[in-house]
Symmetry: C2
Subunit: 227 residues, 2 copies
DNA sequence: TATATTTTGTGATTTGTTTCACATCAATTT
DNA sequence: AAATTGATGTGAAACAAATCACAAAATATA
């Protein structure tokens, strides 16, 4: 029943986010129309890739005319359910949890942390603007705000236990900052953010690069990276 | 010269990190030997995948005997340069930067943040154990500690400018938390951590899942996720 | 109105990754 | 000592993703 489900966010979806960020920036600059190669240049992919990605998500442009930025962004909003607000809970108000609770970008993108939870809610309460509750009020909050997605920033030792509780109370998606592979039912979406792994990957590639003395053998190196 | 280079950390490398975490845990439990399918079960991949990944990184076991955990971990340490210490700098002591500067897991894995930097070093100094400098001391520190990798946690507006400065002073790898695509020379490794995108991806998949009423049409859903 | 131009959208092809299938080897049993 | 068992390691096959190449459409030009 409960099993390891490792969902790796599709690369095409990641690219779509990239395009969107780029479109938002362009719109701010007053640009109204883009071509696939505009986006391609800005995001470091090929223009065919842009069009293929759009096609995958059912986004159409006008032949010769390219894409209308407003129209494009509107379509994306719809696809990513960005037209409505999303309520989140955050579990674990340690250093990282606290920082995440103050991360203003979430709000800017209609994602609201409605409550945070900690085993010691009183310790943190003063430092945060968002209410800090103890875990026994989880169900109440999740139900009241119809929360479907949680951010998990607890120590690794308690991550699985907390995840179980979240899922029992109806959470369907978790962004997990604890460096453990959570065992969850098949219908729960997990996205792991492992800070150490990110750093170690970079260190690994940097050392590899340094070893191939300077820029001599870049071709060889690139074969080892997925672009 | 300077261009967008989007390095996506290879999936096989990510899996290797997974295996390692698993091995460390098993060793702690007193286990001394593993088979490819042990690791496979624990990490949610297939045993062939484990062996192929090992083969890619030149790791060999003993036929029939499986793998000796200590031996395996030692080999991995070497491959990932974990046998020596790595000095890092962290730029941007906002909420996130502060949390990262206190993240104890880095130290546990031989990655030491030797100094942090902020445009307003005095504001943050009291809150941190690690020295907080202003950017003009960057070169001095990078040279003294032979720093090759930086963590970038500055606002997106200044991310590119700071990245340029880092690279000018010899930084070869950056873990970038700012939601912008940095333009860097080809020989610089970038790993982007985009918190909003992670959350939005999860929200996207959760909604998709909810739409296919319950668990009816899971097959269809899974086609959209890379496992 | 006809022609040329430009850009999309998508089958066909190539390239990359995962799974399959089995030869190979080492340990154990007979 | 031979036969059997159970694991690794890896080419071959299947699958997935990215690139190529070009038809179709919309606009501009003559």
């Amino acid at each position: 029943m409960k099993q390891i489900t490792k969902y790796i966010i599709k690369n095409s979806l990641k690219r779509i986010f990239l395009y969107r960020a780029c479109l938002v920036r362009l719109r701010l600059m007053g640009v109204e129309k883009v071509f696939s190669y505009t986006l391609a240049n800005e995001t470091g992919v090929t223009s065919e890739q842009v069009r293929k990605d759009f096609s995958e998500f059912g986004i159409k442009g006008n032949k010769r005319g390219g894409y209308d930025i407003n129209d494009l962004l509107e379509k994306m909003e719809k696809i990513f359910h960005r037209n409505k607000d999303h309520n989140l809970v955050l579990i674990g108000m340690g250093n990282l949890g606290l920082a995440l609770s103050k991360y203003s970008k979430f709000v800017q993108r209609n994602m609201n942390i409605v409550a945070t939870f900690d085993i010691d809610p009183f310790k943190q309460k003063q430092r945060s603007d968002i209410p800090v509750y103890s875990m026994d009020r989880l169900k109440e909050i999740v139900d009241r705000f119809r929360v479907k997605v949680a951010i998990l920033a607890v120590p690794e030792i308690s991550a699985q236990e907390v995840a179980d509780k979240l899922i029992r109370h109806g959470i369907k998606g978790i962004v997990n900052f604890a460096p453990v592979l959570l065992k969850v039912p098949q219908d729960v979406i997990i996205s792991n953010v492992n800070l150490c792994d990110e750093l170690e990957s970079v260190i690994y590639y940097v050392h590899k690069q340094i070893k191939v003395d300077g820029l001599k053998n870049l071709e060889l190196l690139y074969k080892d990276m997925k672009y």
